[in-house]
């Protein structure tokens, strides 16, 4: 049996282990994205046996078993360049909270001559934790970080240029490669648009509303009115630290979990699917910011009362206090 045949047979024998490692990697990547609040698609795979065979036969490896380092692969596909940068932090060992042990991280655009076209993306080489080959060696994985636009180009080009059966002409190769410019322009324009949006005065509030909806919608099944939410958050701006928004949201999530039964009961009795939904005085129960308000009623009742007293919303807030079983602390002394 030749060396390549031995490697191929070994891969067939241990394929199940690589499949399980790929599932574990996908789970870790998804957990990491959720922790960072990232909206991203996560994929993983164990290199198929045919693909493995083609690779070891196509390349002249000195040690094919060791040198094929993408037996397990993962991919995080983000919406924007900024999100891709956030995803890269999952593998930045200086943060002390990396998902996996990282062997290397390479931005494919680094060091490239700006006059040349290139494959965009970040590749991370790491170790899948707690999985080992038959000889006790840790299992390596390759993780690709791409934006959706980059992924669209990569998927289209990959089968044609990198793994094409027929060698392409220079003209065709260039045609495919120059599409990468479009992905670069697309991502840059999205980034510019995002920066402009972030500089809008109500952007942080809008993001907070989006976060609140992720907790509110499973309980009620109906979204609120975004413009009303912005008005409410404007009234509460002294109580909502937009700079610490992410940390606060984690605390709020914990509060909602700990009080889920009580909150569900209140929203069921007074929320968007109750008989009170059509009564204007109870409109706040049909808004996602009611969750934030319940947290403030529980932990900062006085500050909340002070913020809303004398406003047009005072009566609506009073009903939330009553429903929570607390008294609105009047600041009228």
């Amino acid at each position: 049996m030749s060396e390549l045949e031995a490697v191929f047979e070994r891969y067939k024998r241990e394929y199940t282990c690589f499949e399980q490692a790929a599932l574990e990697l996908e789970k870790l990547l998804k957990e990491g994205c959720a922790r960072m609040g990232l909206r991203a698609e996560v994929e993983s795979r164990a290199k198929t046996i045919p693909s493995f065979i083609k690779k070891i036969y196509a390349r002249s490896y000195d040690d094919p078993w060791l040198e094929v380092t993408d037996k397990v692969g993962g991919r995080i596909i983000t919406e924007t360049l900024l999100d891709r940068k956030t995803a890269a932090r999952l593998f930045d060992e200086s943060t002390g909270t990396t998902l996996i042990s990282v062997l290397s991280m390479e931005d494919k655009s680094d060091g490239v001559d700006p006059q040349n076209l290139y494959y965009p993306g970040i590749h991370v080489q790491g170790i899948v934790p707690e999985f080992f080959t038959s000889d006790g060696q840790p299992i390596e994985c390759e993780i690709q970080l791409r934006t959706k636009a980059q992924d669209a180009w990569a998927v289209a080009s990959h089968g044609r240029i990198y793994k094409g059966i027929l060698p392409l002409s220079k003209r065709t190769t260039r045609r495919i490669y120059r599409l990468s410019v479009l992905t670069e322009m697309f991502d840059e324009e999205v980034k510019t648009a995002m920066d402009e949006m972030c500089s809008e005065p109500e952007y942080e509030h809008a993001v907070l509303i989006r976060d609140l909806e992720t907790l509110y919608l499973p309980m009620t099944g109906e979204p609120g009115e975004n413009m009303l939410s912005l008005e409410v958050l404007d009234v509460l701006k002294s109580l909502v630290d937009v700079e610490g928004r992410e940390k606060y949201f984690e605390e709020l999530k914990k509060f909602v979990e700990e009080n889920s039964s009580k909150i569900s009961g209140i929203l069921s009795d007074y929320g968007p699917r109750s008989d009170f939904a059509n009564q204007w005085a109870y409109w706040l129960f049909s808004q996602p910011e009611s969750l934030l308000i319940f947290e403030k009623v529980e932990n900062h009742a006085f500050a909340l009362s002070e913020a809303v007293e004398g406003t047009e919303m005072e009566e609506a807030f009073r009903h939330l206090f009553e429903a929570w079983g607390k008294e609105m602390a009047s600041t009228d002394i």
């Binding site: 009795d269 007074y270 932990n299 009553e322 429903a323 602390a329 600041t331």
Partner: protein
Amino acid sequence: MTIADQTIQNKVICWIRKQFSNSKVRDGYEQLELVAQLDFHFETFYEIILSNYRCTMKGVFMADFGTLSIDKVMMHGIPKGNLAANSPNESFTETPIPLEDEDRGYITLKLRATFAGRARAVIEDKDLESKVPDLIRGLVGDSGNLIGDSRQIASLLHGAQKWMSNAGLVMVVHGQIDGEKCLVVAKMEHQEGMRVQPTLSPEGLKTYKAEHFHDLILAEGTKVFKAGIFKASEAKDSELMQGLVADDQLSGQNVAEYFVNFLGCVFVRQADVMTELYFDETHRFLGKVTKEDPPMRTDYEIALIVDMQSASKRISPKSFAAKYLKGAHRDQFLKRMEEIGLPIAGFKKDTKLIETNIRRMKLQTSRGATLFVPPEMHDDGSLNVGKGKNGTKKSKIILIDEITSISGAGGPKKREKKSVNSSIQADVQDQSGS
């Protein structure tokens, strides 16, 4: 400071007894004398007391009114004034009121609002020989009859009412709170209001029809005046019944307690004990949050004394927070008041147990200097407490006044170790009257 000295232990035990002056509750705390023999730090000891108290009064101070829900409601009319018992009341009803979801939701909100921030713990007093606790036990334990027993409760309330009591309705509610069955007994008074609806005049012109109503209840902006709530776990046959009562009409001791007494109960803590608990706990809280800021602590302590000395007959933690405290201290303070079971909306003030502690403010320094200052000297600027040099815990105290006498005086013996908390030491000494 550790409690090693027998004299101080005895003083602490006396203090505990004063906190829980109701005899029914005090009996359960003789065991705390054993705790006093142990070498506990005072703060830990205090927390143990409170936590033991909370465990025994389990659920009473900790009821979450946001979980209150109602199942069935009986309402009976009560005429004004007092009527001899056994007189027929033609306003008694014969079946629970029909409730749509909206009606149920509205009454629930009003009841939650009634109790929130106002509830005070009550406990059954057999000496009152009231039939109501057994009726409540039966109703919350399912052996009672809602229609018949609620009529009896209404009749008993009518008999217990004072001559000046208004007519109204008694509401007896089967419900749930904190995941268990409960019973609510409430008295409501009628209110006036007006309804206007669009209509057409006889000439066919658009106008409004106005109707005056004088038999409204639970109108927006008003509250149920008197209500008691009793959980199933606190109304067992073999134990004294406990519950919570909210009463917005606490204008005088006798008037206030007739509703509680009608329920066959007394307040667990009378006004003097509540006032003392409020004073001590507020003092403790202020010391904790102003540890690094003596000028702020001085302002806060003076405010507390002024509040205690004021002519107002009520203490309102809410108002104190609004008037005197700053920023996050307000919410922290109100939360602490709730934790120790004091109604933040307010309660009757009775300073007889703390009279000697509220005439002047006492400043004690780590090296043994003691200053007694009337609050007005702080207000008019005759006393100023400022921070010392940066990096030190020292403060600069300036007192401007005419010296009328200088003499030798006693004081604490010189100690090798500094007091952990000199104000707590001062508290213990004050409790002993020294």
